[in-house]
Point group: C2
Chain length 374, copies 2
Amino acid sequence: MTLSGERFRVVYCLAGSETQARVTAQRICLEQTVELPEEVVPAGFIRDEVVGRIEIFETGPTGFEVTISYAVETVGAELTQFINIIFGNISILPGVKVLRFELTPTLFEKFHGPRWGRAGIRELLKVPKRPLLCAALKPIGFSAVQLAEMAYQLALGGIDLIKDDHGLTNQIFAPFEDRVRRCADAVARANEQTGERSLYVPNVTAPFDQILARAHFAKESGAGGLLICPAVTGLDAMRQLANEEHLGLPILSHPAFQGSYLTASENGMSHFSLLGQLTRLAGADAVIFPNYGGRFAFSKEECLSIVAGTETVMSNVKAIFPCPGGGMTLERIPELLEVFGQEVIFLMGGGLIGHSPDLRANACHFRGLVNRLS
Amino acid sequence: MTLSGERFRVVYCLAGSETQARVTAQRICLEQTVELPEEVVPAGFIRDEVVGRIEIFETGPTGFEVTISYAVETVGAELTQFINIIFGNISILPGVKVLRFELTPTLFEKFHGPRWGRAGIRELLKVPKRPLLCAALKPIGFSAVQLAEMAYQLALGGIDLIKDDHGLTNQIFAPFEDRVRRCADAVARANEQTGERSLYVPNVTAPFDQILARAHFAKESGAGGLLICPAVTGLDAMRQLANEEHLGLPILSHPAFQGSYLTASENGMSHFSLLGQLTRLAGADAVIFPNYGGRFAFSKEECLSIVAGTETVMSNVKAIFPCPGGGMTLERIPELLEVFGQEVIFLMGGGLIGHSPDLRANACHFRGLVNRLS
């Protein structure tokens, strides 16, 4: 069989001595493709082209950086198999981290990424320039009526994207359908009053057989976007939402259960590759991540590397919004505007709820701050 | 609202000083449920019952071990939300590891786990006692005809479970439907000759919208089981396969892309909880993992903790097979029989292919060794 010769590239950071790193690099080439000891790999195109190939081996700031190329034919047309090739078995080996990847025209034809991206979301909201604002409905335990009232106040206060907390699923407190109907209605009512276009973004992280049904229900009920935790549902469920016919809602990706890829310095995937590149390739229009200086441990540099991943050139895959959140407060807005600029969605959850008992006033204050400073 | 008072428990290992660990424990209680600063958590049942509760705080061998209980109502009936509660946001915080969890009657009514389990697979194969044997069809690049010939030889040689390599998906070399038909036929032909009941186990790790279709196609084509990588597809896709009507095939769970939960000592999930308890709860009948002393870094103790997780009492959730593989060789069988005993599936991939050019003879040798020693 003759292959096309088209090869995509993955850059890994390898721990250990140079000798160890060279052994690991060879091993990745086999492990991620033929999964055979080298001596029994069939000669011919399998040995010459299917096996991964070391293209560059160099010293990086935190380890040896090796660029390995793979034949596009090993992936076929499936994002699931792409994930498996870049970091399937090798995820189990300590000391291997995916730094970034570079696709090829054939793969870009197959993986379209987000439907809306930054420009699309701005167009939906009719907000051409300023940073967008997002707030969360919570907590678990509130009724659908209470959550809808929150949504109403937040929309009146000028929040662009009003999302479910990712822990709101289908519990007895606020069952999915009832909640979605009420919250979507509440936001629509507020929009009529304000003349703005706030979007309600329900959480469709759900059992496998209910994700699409909930997404379509949400759309029919007037929701303006969808929230999903791709590490819980599988990244490809998000791609499906982005590609699903007659759906067409912007998608926010939430990092719950995804942290283990990111917490270890020597293992896993870089913030750039996982929350930037891969999340984008899997169809998210915005990626939520814990902001530096909040409750989690991401550094400013890591956050900015996510931003870079959301906009790095990837053929015609659209740039998506970084959406820093998690322990943010209104006091930090001026600083965050300087760091993230205009192309960002600021997510404020507890910080907005805790600012004062008047949620609408808090939202107005948030919006006013952003309007004034940007 | 009045809750049932029924609470399930998760045991976390926390790094750092005792003071730090106590702060982290409090934080988990909020983060995994209401996701609000403590001062704004609504009074009443939300503060008293929805928020996680520290039940035990003690010193463990590798850190502080804290047992946190959560109201069953925070989960509802969904495995996806169960995953989110036990390790959603908190996966992003360094120094938190899930050690184990304990469900309650209400949750056991909702999560049934595997359909077959150890006893069911033995019944399907009519092998009451000895360890079971599994081998893999590979590599990527082989045609469906070549893979089917391998399957035929392996079945003639007495291998019980003949699985696709997890990297065989739907590439041009051996497209899914053609491969599955040919391999299932090959194993059926061999079974007619041997009088045994080898099962062909194709890989249904696939795009979201194709998993079920491939699984049903496999069943209709005579496949005897299904292989899936739940970290790629989402764990709940596996649960769906286990629960799917008119399917009813045993399921092998493959750890590709799952390693990041396991590679760091202080973060992630324990081998026991992820590859034992959770994989089982999500419907696998057998869990593949890299054996100690092979190509990966799992220790013997970690492997045995997986075994413990496959059989620890979990109400009426069936015990499942541990399936150690990854760099195993025939020479190690005597040792492995001593370590794992009879209730195991030995997976041999490259080690079987590399033993000699005669695959059937290698399989016979493998089977003979196991027969003789067990």
